[in-house]
Structure formats: C-alpha cells, structure tokens
C-alpha cells in the first residue's frame, strides 16, 4: 500500500501505483484488472477518482482537480477520495 497525506494531514492508504496503473477503465464505469482477472463497476465519482489516481498520488492535486470538475467544496471531495481509497484497499488487498 502507498501512503498519501490529505490536505488536512490525514494519512490515506492507496493500492500500489502499478496496480492502479494496470487497470483498464471504460467510460461507462467498467473496470478490469488484467493481472488478477477481476472486474468491478464504479460510479461517475469513482471513475473520476480512479482516473486521477492512475496519474497522480498527491491528494491536494486530486482534490483540487475534483473540485474543479464537480464544483464541490474541498471537504466533500476529500471525503469522497478517502472513502473510495478504503474501497480500493479492500478490492486490492
């Protein structure tokens, strides 16, 4: 697991970058892991976060980018990222 710090200093565990990078993402929210053979579905928010996590590990930048796209405040965006990171941890133990 990779650790990243949230803007308010909270530590967030993320799956390894190489695991996130290998995921095949479809615009409709279908996610396929070509190594493990598992598939998932994510909603629009999850897809937006996953796309960002594939290229960015800095949570400040991710939250700022989500704020810009979804017009939400930083707290909401950060909460979504932290919650989604928990789901990713379970999916990629």
């Amino acid at each position: 697991m990779e650790k990243a710090n949230s803007p308010i200093g909270q530590s967030v565990d993320l799956p390894k970058p190489e695991v996130l990078m290998r995921l095949a993402l479809s615009d409709n929210g279908f996610v396929f892991d070509p190594v493990a053979g598992n598939s998932f579905t994510v909603n629009g928010t999850g897809l937006a976060i996953l796309r960002r996590l594939q290229h960015e590990s800095d949570l400040d930048s991710i939250v700022a980018s989500l704020q810009e796209e979804f017009e939400v405040d930083a707290m909401v965006a950060e909460r979504d990222v932290i919650e989604f990171a928990g789901l990713l941890r379970n999916a990629f133990k």
Partner: protein, 354 residues
C-alpha cells in the same frame, strides 16, 4: 496433401468435470481444417465428443487404464490397423503413466507422441509437489498422503485445522469444512481414484491457471493464463477470463525449466489475499479450457502438433487479457445406430452404416 491423423483422448465433455479432448479437437480443427483428421478416443459410448462429427472424424472406445498397458497397446494397435494414427494426444491424467511407458513402442508402430518421460511425470505428481516447488522456488501448501479417513477425527490436534482440501492422486479436489465432510470426500475419492488420498492445507485466495507447451529443453512456449470466474460444484471452471500475470508466468517458467518438461502442461496456483502464490497442482496435459488459447491467438494444440512434427511453429499473438470463455450445456441428437456401433463394435459407424 494427405491429412494428418491425430488421435485425441478425453472426449468426456461432461459438465461437472470435463475432459479436454473435445476442446483440443476443436482447436486443431480451427487451426488446420481438413488438413487434420481427428480420431476421437473415449471410454464410454456416452462420451459426447465421440458423437460430434464436426470435430471427430471417427471415434473409438479404449480399454480403461486400469486394464493395464498391454491391453491399451493392443487396442491402439487395432485402431491403428483400421486407420493409421500419425500422432496420439492424450488428455487424461490417468492415461499418462501408461502412454509414457508405451511411447517407444508406439513410435515403432509409427504413432508419434509429444510427452514427458517417466521421471519428469513422476516429479510433478501431487504427492511430490513440495519437492519440485522447492527446486523451483515456489510456495506450495503442505500436503499429506493418508490411507484412512480416521485421520480427520483428530487432525486438529496434529496441526491440520479445517478447512482442508481432500484430493485424489489423479483427479478431484474437495474443500472440507469439518471431519464429516472430509471423511465423505475421502471415501468418494478413494472409491473413484484409489489410495492414497491427499490432504492439502487450504489457502484463502483466488485460483489462477496457466497452460503452455514445454519442448523438453526447459523452455516454455505460448503460455495462456486464466482466472476462473464461475465454477461447477466440483470447482471446475464454467467461465473464466484470460489474464496476463508476469509473476505466474515466471513461476511456470521456473517449474518447466526445473522439469525440462516436454508436452502440454497446466499449472494451477492459488493467489492468497496478500498476493503470494501457492502451487496447487501441475497437470501433464492440456486443460478443458484450452479453447481459450485459440480465443487469444495462441492455439496451443496447433503449436504442439508443429513441435511434434518438427515444423515451423505458428505465430503467437501477444498476451491478450480480458477474453472470457463461457461454457454452456447443449444437446446433440445421436441416432441409435451410432450409439450401437460404439457400444457393440467399439468404434463409430462407418459412412455406409449411418
């Protein structure tokens, strides 16, 4: 050009535990069309593959492996006289010890094969897996050969906590959650496959399988990997998806190098919840899901044929993860005369008899 006659066993394409023969025949047909003539070999007139004319040009019944090597050789000689076999491609584990021993005599008759030798075959046997795994630096769950189900009454005190996997020497593996389930599995497996029965520690995780062809020098060709997505009550794949797992491929390369394996192979591993790999089994044949190899552009039965005949091997597509296979049940209609011919003469009806 004269077609190559390839005899393929394992036509028991039954739903809960299918043999690979029909899928192998399908791969060969799609690779070579009429340039290959497929002789289906089975043990039961109800083996569905024997009745599927699009894949089996003719069909014969064999004597069961328990009848011994000489009976099998005599039967293969009869078939060979009826229609010359250029190559024999066995698809059932229980046949391998006999056919490996018979390979030189079959070769003298003009029947070629592409198989490991007896020592290579023995090294990958289920009861010797820990030895091989250590050589190839691969983890494997501890395995114990037992002769009596009483073992399960107090196995916890010996350090063997449930759940455990109860396995036959050749086939079958059942997860047992308690002593009752384990004893029932023991009796069923012992009745079908004989003693000893193997007990293996259960690994929590996901099963992934790899199939490929070894050329006898230690090199592995054309690996195709699959993760099961749906299984039958006996744990056999009913649906699966191709994957590309370099760690699994590395394990298979090390095992094949250690064995100097020749012929088809299937490597079964469990990937635990921490990403560790545990070798479960090595099967000395193609798996029933081998048609997936054609689906991902790596037709392994066609590759095997090329290697066996010393011909240029077909090009292999790059790994193509994300191709699914889905099995389905379908009926075929068989005239009584076809069934009768197999039952009474041990061979499919000739054209004139249909």
């Amino acid at each position: 050009m004269t077609a190559i006659n390839v005899a393929v066993t394992g036509m028991n394409a039954v739903p809960d535990n299918p043999g690979a023969g029909l899928a192998v025949a399908r791969c060969l047909r799609e690779a070579f069309g009429d340039r290959v003539r497929i002789v289906g070999l089975g043990y039961d007139a109800l083996d569905p593959g024997l009745h599927l004319g699009e894949y089996c040009d003719s069909a014969y019944l064999l004597s069961y492996p328990s009848s011994g090597a000489e009976a099998l050789l005599a039967r293969l000689s009869e078939i060979h006289e009826s229609e010359p076999i250029d190559m024999l491609l066995p698809c059932l584990d229980a046949e391998l010890p006999l056919l490996v021993g018979l390979a030189p005599r079959l070769a003298e008759m003009g029947i070629r094969s592409y198989l490991p030798d007896a020592s290579q075959l023995a090294l990958r046997a289920k009861d010797r897996l820990p030895e091989l795994a250590e050589t190839a630096a691969v983890g494997t769950p501890e395995t114990l050969a037992i002769m009596h189900p009483d073992f399960f009454r107090d196995c916890g005190r010996k350090g063997w906590e449930f759940p455990l996997v109860v396995k036959g020497v050749f086939y079958d593996a059942r997860v047992a959650a308690n002593a009752e389930e384990a004893s029932a599995a023991f009796r069923s497996i012992a009745a079908e496959w004989g003693l000893p029965v193997l007990v293996q520690r259960w690994i929590a995780g996901e099963e992934c399988n790899l199939t490929a062809v070894g050329d006898g020098t230690g090199a592995l060709h054309g690996e195709v990997m699959m993760k099961k997505r749906a299984v039958t009550a006996r744990g056999k794949a009913w649906a699966g998806v191709s994957i590309n797992d370099e760690d699994l491929a590395g394990i298979a390369h090390r095992l094949v190098a250690a064995l100097k394996w020749k012929g088809p192979i299937e490597v079964e591993v469990m990937r635990d919840t921490k990403g560790g790999y545990h070798l479960i089994e090595i099967n000395p044949r193609f798996p029933a899901w081998i048609y997936l190899s054609q689906g991902v552009g790596r037709n392994l039965p066609a590759l095997l044929l090329a290697l066996a005949f010393g011909r240029e091997t077909p090009p292999l597509a790059p790994p193509r993860p994300g191709m699914l296979f889905l099995r389905y049940a379908q009926e075929i209609i068989v005239p009584l005369s076809s069934f009768e011919a197999l039952m009474m003469a041990g061979r499919s009806a000739q054209e004139s008899e249909r």
